[in-house]
Every structure is written in structure tokens, then in C-alpha cells.
């Protein structure tokens, strides 16, 4: 089974891109499964099911989405193996800019959209920097010049990346993406593979349910801002 991991900020068009990718790969709906890692609520499963694609959804709830991803990805692969899929695609909503649910040796695709602001690629961090492919959506409604500067800003952060523009509505660009996706590594298990980037260090009192504000309630790993004297 070939595994592809997809991540991106909310509303960047991940589900649309995955659906267009599957279409362009020209494989039967029964040969592909999707695992959606989301935070609180998700409606994406409906869009997959509508096309006869099997999908499982997991909610990280009050956990960090990256921690949630890494502790469930192995089981996801097992699910895919048992279902006999040829391809397994995971979709993660990157909720903080530090999210980077990518694994060494496993194809990593980051989806961002052209409306997000021209400097956004420079701010996203590991989710973009560690990806093999950055798919840019909504390029059909901005100028060529803005697309070029956007791609330039992506390459500044991730010099080795492939930047591919995909139109999530009509699928333009998905053929190119599919030719890359076909090369995704085939795996039986993820055991002993490694994440590309450490997940956020998150062991402070607020992680464990503290809600009061004030120095005396703060324990564990904390980081303080420095404010200049007025």
C-alpha cells in the first residue's frame, strides 16, 4: 500500500485537492482509503463518502493535533492494509503553524491557498518547510504575478520543494500532482520510521487542564515574551 500524507491550514482546500488527485490518478474508489485527522468537528467525510471513498475520521479534541497524528498513524496504516487499499491518504488540519505531521520517507504534501496572503508561506514553518510538494489552491482567481511571487516565497523557505498549482474546483493541475503521487513509497508498516520534525513541546500546567491566569499557576515548559520598556 502506498501512503501519502497531506496537511494544510483549515480551508486551504485539502479535501478538494485529494478528491481531484484521486480522480486524476484514475484508480477505483475502492482502491483508496482516507483518514482524516481533525480537531473538533469535520464534515469532510461526507464529501469522500459521496464518491464512494472509504474514510475514517479522528478528532484530536484537547490534544495537540500532531501528537494525536503520530499516536494514531500506525493504526491507520493497519486499517488500510486490512481493507486492501492500494493507496492510503491521510488528511491533517494543521491548526498551529508549527504542525508538521510528516514522516521521513513518506510522501508529504502541504496544501495552502493563494488568498492566504503573499507572505504566508514564509510564516507557516515546518508544515511547509518539511513538505516534498506544496500544492497551491485558488490560484485561478489571483494574478499570474501574485502566483509567481507566492511560489517564490515558498521556495525561499523550502528550496527543494515541488510547487504545484491545483484548481480545487475543476481539477486543473491535478494530473501533474498525480504523476508525483504515483511515486509514493509502498509500505507495510510505519514501525521505526521517524517524524520529520519534533512535535510541539507541550507539557505545561495548561496542557493538563489549568485555566486560571497568573504566575503561580504556571508550571512545566513555559516561554515568556519580553516586552520593551515604555
Amino acid at each position: 500500500m502506498q501512503l501519502i500524507t497531506v496537511a494544510g491550514p483549515p480551508s486551504s482546500g485539502k479535501t478538494s485537492v485529494i478528491l481531484k488527485l484521486i480522480e486524476a490518478m484514475q484508480i477505483a474508489a475502492s482502491d483508496v482509503g482516507v483518514v482524516k485527522f481533525d480537531c473538533l468537528t469535520s464534515f469532510d467525510h461526507l464529501r469522500y463518502e459521496e464518491r464512494g471513498i472509504r474514510v475514517e475520521t479522528g478528532f484530536s479534541g484537547k490534544l495537540c493535533p500532531d501528537h494525536f497524528f503520530v499516536s494514531n498513524i500506525e493504526a491507520a496504516v493497519e486499517w488500510g492494509q486490512n481493507a486492501g487499499f492500494k493507496y492510503l491518504i491521510t488528511e491533517s488540519a494543521g491548526l498551529c503553524n508549527r504542525c508538521s505531521p510528516y514522516i521521513h520517507g513518506i510522501m508529504a504534501i502541504c496544501v495552502i491557498d493563494n488568498l492566504a496572503g503573499i507572505n504566508t508561506p514564509r510564516k507557516i514553518g515546518p508544515m511547509l518547510k518539511m513538505a516534498d510538494i506544496v500544492v497551491v489552491t485558488k490560484g485561478d482567481i489571483v494574478s499570474q504575478a501574485e502566483r509567481e511571487v507566492f511560489a517564490f516565497n515558498i521556495r525561499q523557505v523550502n528550496t527543494a520543494v515541488q510547487v504545484i498549482f491545483v484548481n480545487g474546483i475543476n481539477g486543473q493541475g491535478a494530473t501533474i500532482l498525480a504523476s508525483h503521487a504515483a511515486k509514493a513509497r509502498s509500505i507495510q508498516t510505519l514501525r521505526d520510521l521517524k517524524l520529520r520534525f519534533t512535535t510541539p513541546a507541550a507539557v505545561c500546567s495548561y496542557c493538563t487542564g489549568e485555566i486560571r491566569i497568573g504566575n503561580e499557576y504556571q508550571m512545566g515548559t513555559m516561554k515568556r515574551m519580553e516586552f520593551k520598556k515604555p
Binding site: V142, Q144, A145, E148, V149, N153, R155, Q156, I176
Partner: protein
């Protein structure tokens, strides 16, 4: 510069000097939040004074940063991006129409040539442009195949060309960034290492103004440009700043710009221009036009001398319509005289 030259430079030349020579490098340090790095020292020594906490948040140590800086220079300063992909022609080999009927057609288009694409809405004009963009290889709904320089593309060349071959312009495109015309053009030129920024910005601006019916200034905000002005700016920008040898234009008719001059400008920059259009001026302004019916190219017509002669008359009609529009806009009353 090759890899060794770059590494040697990074090891020996103070950061500030590299930045001066390759201004684009400033972004590298800004992106890592170390723009206040000591400029008088080569990178490795300079980094000794940077905050290790900040670096570790990016998952980097000094060695990793040095390596990434070399990669960065390699991509943005090492190789010349002056020319874009060197191609001379594109060939479209027919597939089939919507009903599966064969599309018996093979057409080769050379640089500097303009091709228009006409046909009813829904007939497949945009699909043809999309086939060109993705360098179709019998893997799109039309079964078409695209060759570059009359040759099949292997995977490697396909990947190399992807995203660099084609610049696009359509009715739906807008500027979404809130900058002045000047700042925006400078930013775009700045993303191209090899061009003279001030000179290119100036040429782009002058040219855009001559295409647009209504003048705008360098300090006009992009978001305040009219439809025609932004189309004119996009075309001038594509002509002077984009290195893509192929330009795909999808229905820009009602834009109120000098369309013929726009197409001539692109062709004069040695571009291959495809225009999907319902506009007679654009359709006949091209050297050849493709007639699309039910998903396939049903005919290829070379613009005849007679048609070319008609162009000037059509232009007069068009200009007259433009005048009427302008009068109405200015609150004037339209008389029979105005129709001439």
C-alpha cells in the same frame, strides 16, 4: 556559481557582503527571525552570536543553517533565471471529442505566434488551455497529447518544465494583495534575481498605462484599479517579468484595454500566445484560429488577407462603441449622429 563556489563564499565572505551582492538573501535571515545577525563575519562565526533558542525553534543548528543557506543561494543566486525554459515550439496532437469521436488534428505553434480559440460556451476552449498547461499526455478527459519542440517529454523533462512553461490570464483573475502599483511591481521584479528592478518596473508601468484606456499612477493601490487597468497591468507584467514562454489567455474581452496592442506586445516578447475568446478583434488578430466543437478541434483556420483587412474596420466599429460607452458614462445624451 556551482556548489563549491557557493560553499566557499559562505565559508569565507562576511554575511553583509553576500547580502549586498544578493539582496534576496535578506529574506533567508528574516524567515528565520535572525535578520539582526552580525554582518561583518562569515555565516558560521556570525551565528555563534545568534540566539540558539530561536534557531532550535526552527529545528536547526548552526551547521544546518549553513547548509540551508547554501541551498538557498544555489536556487536564488547560483543559476540564471533570465531566460526561463528554452523551447521553440509546442505541438498539440488530437485526442477525441466529448462523444468519443476522433480529433484528427496535429498542430505545431512556434514562438512569437498567436493562436485564438473560438467556439460556443461549454464547447471545450478552457479544457484545451488546461491540456496545454498540464502538458497532457493522453491522461486528460480529451486524450490529447502535447509535445515540446516536436518531442515526447520524458518524466524528468516534464517535471522540470512544470509550472515554468505557462503564464495564465483570465477574466476571473484579480489582484488580491493590498499594495501600490510601484511596491507590487518592485516585489515581483525582486523575486527575479537577474533583472534590473527599477528599469523593468518603469517599462512595465509605462506599457500598462498605454494599454489601459484610463491612466493610473505608480502610487495607485492595486485594489483600486479598474478591471481594464488591472488587466493591462497583468499583461504588461507578464510581458516584461514572466519568463514563461507560453501565455494562456481565457476570455478577457470586456476589459476595456487595447487588445490588439496587448497581443502584439506579448508576441513581440517571443511568447506563444493562446487566446480563448468571443471577441472578433482577438479572434482575427491571431495568425490562426482553432474552432472548437463538442470538445474537439474541428477546424484550424489561417487568418486570410481579407480577414486581416477587415480588422481595421472592426477596430473602427469597436472604437465607436467605446465612444458611446464613454459618453453614456459622462452623462451625455446619445444621438443618431453618434452611431455614425
Amino acid at each position: 556559481m556551482n556548489d563549491t563556489d557557493i560553499l566557499y563564499m559562505v565559508l569565507t565572505v562576511p554575511v553583509g557582503e553576500i547580502m549586498e551582492k544578493h539582496p534576496v538573501c535578506q529574506n533567508f535571515f528574516k524567515n528565520l527571525r535572525i535578520e539582526d545577525i552580525e554582518r561583518g563575519l562569515p555565516l558560521h562565526q556570525a551565528l555563534e552570536k545568534a540566539d540558539p533558542e530561536t534557531l532550535s525553534e526552527f529545528g536547526l543548528d548552526r551547521h544546518a543553517i549553513q547548509r540551508e543557506f547554501c541551498d538557498f543561494l544555489n536556487v536564488f543566486a547560483g543559476r540564471s533565471d533570465a531566460t526561463g525554459p528554452e523551447i521553440t515550439s509546442i505541438t498539440i496532437i488530437g485526442g477525441h471529442g466529448k462523444a468519443g469521436d476522433p480529433e484528427n488534428c496535429q498542430i505545431t505553434i512556434n514562438r512569437g505566434e498567436t493562436i485564438s480559440i473560438v467556439g460556443p460556451t461549454g464547447s471545450g476552449k478552457s479544457r484545451l488551455l488546461a491540456d496545454i498547461e498540464c502538458l497532457a499526455n493522453c491522461d486528460t478527459p480529451t486524450g490529447r497529447k502535447v509535445l515540446i519542440d516536436e518531442q515526447n517529454l520524458d518524466d524528468e523533462r516534464r517535471i522540470e518544465l512544470q509550472g515554468r512553461l505557462v503564464a495564465q490570464l483570465s477574466q476571473n483573475m484579480n489582484f488580491v494583495i493590498d499594495l501600490t502599483v510601484n511596491d507590487f511591481l518592485k516585489m515581483h521584479a525582486g523575486s527575479r534575481h537577474s533583472i534590473n528592478i527599477d528599469d523593468t518596473v518603469e517599462r512595465c508601468f509605462v506599457c500598462a498605462n498605454s494599454l489601459a484606456g484610463e491612466a493610473f499612477g505608480l502610487d495607485t493601490r492595486l485594489t483600486q484599479l479598474s478591471g481594464g487597468q488591472s488587466r493591462a497591468l497583468m499583461i504588461a507584467d507578464t510581458a516584461f517579468m514572466s519568463t514563461s514562454p507560453i501565455v494562456l489567455i481565457d476570455e478577457i474581452e470586456n476589459a476595456g484595454i487595447d487588445r490588439r496592442q496587448a497581443i502584439e506586445l506579448l508576441a513581440s516578447r517571443d511568447k506563444i500566445v493562446f487566446i480563448s475568446t468571443h471577441d472578433p478583434l482577438l479572434a482575427l488578430g491571431a495568425n490562426r484560429r482553432l474552432i472548437i466543437k463538442n470538445g474537439r478541434i474541428s477546424r484550424v483556420i489561417t487568418t486570410s488577407e481579407e480577414e486581416k483587412a477587415c480588422l481595421s474596420e472592426i477596430e473602427r466599429l469597436d472604437a465607436r462603441l467605446f465612444q458611446i460607452r464613454k459618453k453614456l458614462r459622462n452623462g451625455e445624451i446619445i444621438s443618431r449622429n453618434a452611431l455614425g
